[in-house]
């Protein structure tokens, strides 16, 4: 059962130009947490900004009883988060969402992360590593500063490729261009996991559908409740079956907060 209540902020450090890493001590939250799940946090005790913010679990530390959130300051809520002091308390709910599900047969996995979207992939990467499943990680971002966790992956000895829009690190171009090579490679991956901006996911889904590579993607949508009650966070899927792929009206809404955020890449419909 998810936890909801106060928890101690163990640390809250700036780790990039707009990136912060917050460690939260909450044995109750950690207990059932798995890769791909998220926390829903309040940014203030006052009535403005009102709603919670969904942030993925970036580290799940069962030993310490803590989770870490890696977040980018993009607006008022995340700015308030960045001002929280170690030793203070945060109002947090979680773990929420379904999380990634490593399929039985997966032997050689491709991981694709775009920008801050790579955050929830790290607990997954650790688990794959622990399970000795071969993996290649592709990270993309606008520029070097926005590439997250590269050092961490290097330290773990995980094969990692980087693409930046400005070419300041690794390949100059989109991370999907790196992915294309792997996806098309007959000796390439037998499964993939991805998280990042919608255009990236859309392109990746197109690529993998063509080649028949299966996988899972983690989606974002504006959230109210985070628990499946408000129906704010829906995304289009083919769950109801699709007779006519041209018919834009054939889709079924699923809730990102409870039926996701992780979806089978085969079932999601991402509009432009």
């Amino acid at each position: 059962m998810p936890y909801s209540g106060l928890a101690e902020v163990v640390k809250n450090q700036k780790v990039g130009p707009e990136h912060f890493l917050m460690e939260v001590f909450s044995p109750e939250l950690v207990r059932e947490a798995k890769p791909g799940q998220f926390a829903h946090v309040r940014c203030t005790n006052q009535m403005d900004p009102l709603l919670r913010r969904p942030i993925s679990l970036h580290e799940i530390n069962h030993k310490k009883g803590s989770v870490s959130l890696l977040y980018q300051v993009v607006g008022r809520g995340t700015r308030l988060l960045s001002g929280m002091q170690a030793g203070g308390e945060i109002d947090i709910m979680g773990p929420l969402g379904n999380g990634f599900n490593i399929p039985e047969g997966a032997r050689k996995v491709l991981i694709v992360g775009g920008g801050i979207g790579a955050a929830p992939l790290f607990p997954l990467i650790i688990e794959l590593e622990e399970r000795h499943i071969e993996q290649t990680v592709l990270l993309g971002a606008r520029t070097t500063d926005d590439i997250i966790g590269y050092g961490h992956l290097a330290a773990l000895g995980i094969r990692t490729e980087v693409a930046t829009d400005d070419g300041s690190m690794g390949y100059k171009g989109f991370v999907t261009e790196l992915a294309e090579k792997h996806v098309k490679d007959p000796a390439g991956p037998d499964y993939f996991f991805a998280c990042g901006p919608n255009p990236m996911l859309r392109e990746l889904i197109k690529l993998t559908r063509v080649s028949g590579l299966q996988g899972q993607v983690s989606l974002e949508e504006y959230m109210g409740c985070g628990v499946g009650a408000c129906l704010a966070c829906v995304c289009k899927t083919t769950a109801g079956g699709v007779n006519d792929p041209e018919d834009k009206n054939e889709f079924e809404y699923k809730k990102v907060c409870t039926e996701g955020p992780v979806f089978d890449a085969g079932e999601v419909i991402l509009d432009d």
């Binding site: 059962m1 998810p2 909801s4 309040r42 009535m47 403005d48 900004p49 009102l50 709603l51 919670r52 109002d91 709910m93 949508e221 504006y222 959230m223 109210g224 409740c225 985070g226 628990v227 499946g228 009650a229 408000c230 129906l231 704010a232 966070c233 829906v234 995304c235 809404y253 409870t258």
Partner: protein, 314 residues
């Protein structure tokens, strides 16, 4: 579950209220559309402690709802344009109601139709289903063209809907009104005359938000309903006005976040209160509010919650 759980003020204090024939063990229910069909919040609170559960707006046929984005945050509030997404009344009766029947809590079903016939049919279907305790008639949804606000902003149409529902059910009928009107008292009187047993106030205020980067409305449906603490002063005012003008009990809602807020509505004249947006902010909101009302009663030696109803003007 101890009695203390249901009645946080303890022995000798009465929290039970009667909302137009619907007996509630305490005045706290949920606001339709913010609490799903019950199971969503079961991990966070004991549903049995609620005075009633009000479920998501239900229609005759399944509805897919509006395109995303469906919500946007605003100062101390939020806009939503969910658009009554729901699986339809048959699915509700077969799949959702059995779950709710497991609990010892009355179920208020919020209904919306796009014609008088639909309202009538819905009321009829639900009256035959075991486990429905009352009907909340939504004539105030700002997010769908039909079955929506248009019914609630015209006194004649509001009355017609209530009459249609009244004809087809023996359950308590709660008319849920739109705040987007010039004269809430006129509409309240209209639905009272049409046979409503109680009045629910308020649904959301019609609002919108524009993204200055894209220069387009933020919401998928352009406009949406404003809820949350931002609208509380308007809601309290309308409850006050309606309570003084009409004899019917009132289910007050709109921005209730804490027990103090709930008490404001009760003092203004609400017999019971519904908690909406607050659930998103604090999944334990209903329980905290219930607890706080009990504390208040103890502190001020209020033996019966009904003594507080409308106490600000009585």
């Amino acid at each position: 579950m101890t009695d203390m759980g249901v009645n946080p003020a303890g022995k000798g204090f009465n929290l039970a209220v009667n909302l137009g024939g619907l007996k509630m063990k305490n005045p706290v229910t949920t606001a339709s559309g913010t609490f799903g069909f019950g199971p969503e919040y079961a991990p966070y609170i004991d549903l049995n402690r609620l005075g009633a559960i009000t479920v998501k707006g239900t229609t005759l046929e399944p509805r897919r709802g509006n395109p995303t984005p469906r919500i946007a945050e605003t100062p101390a509030g939020m806009l939503n344009c969910i658009g009554l997404q729901n699986p339809g009344v048959s699915h509700f009766i077969e799949k959702d109601l059995p779950y709710l029947r497991e609990y010892d809590v009355p179920v208020i079903v919020n209904i919306a139709g796009s014609s008088l016939e639909e309202y009538e049919k819905l009321a009829g279907r639900l009256s035959q289903a075991a486990g429905v305790s009352a009907l909340e008639v939504n004539i105030s949804c700002p997010n769908v063209k039909q079955g929506g606000m248009v019914f609630g902003t015209s006194c004649a149409m509001a009355s017609d809907v209530i009459k249609a529902v009244r004809r087809s059910t023996g359950l308590p009928v709660i008319a849920k009104l739109s705040p987007n009107v010039t004269d809430i008292v006129e509409i309240a009187k209209g639905v009272a005359d049409a046979g409503a047993d109680a009045i629910a106030l308020i649904n959301t205020l019609l609002g919108m938000k524009i993204d200055i980067q894209s220069r387009k409305p933020v919401l998928g449906n352009i406009m949406g309903g404003l809820s949350g603490p931002a609208i509380r002063p308007v809601a309290v005012r309308m409850v006050w006005q309606a309570a003084r003008a009409v004899k019917l009990p009132i289910l007050g809602m709109g921005g209730i976040m804490t027990a103090d807020d709930a008490l404001e509505f009760i003092l203004a004249g609400a017999t019971a209160v519904a908690i909406g947006t607050a659930n998103f902010v604090n999944p334990g909101a209903t329980m905290d509010i219930l607890e706080g009302i009990g504390q208040y009663m103890k502190k001020y030696h209020v033996r019966d919650i009904n003594d507080l109803v409308g106490a600000a003007w009585k």
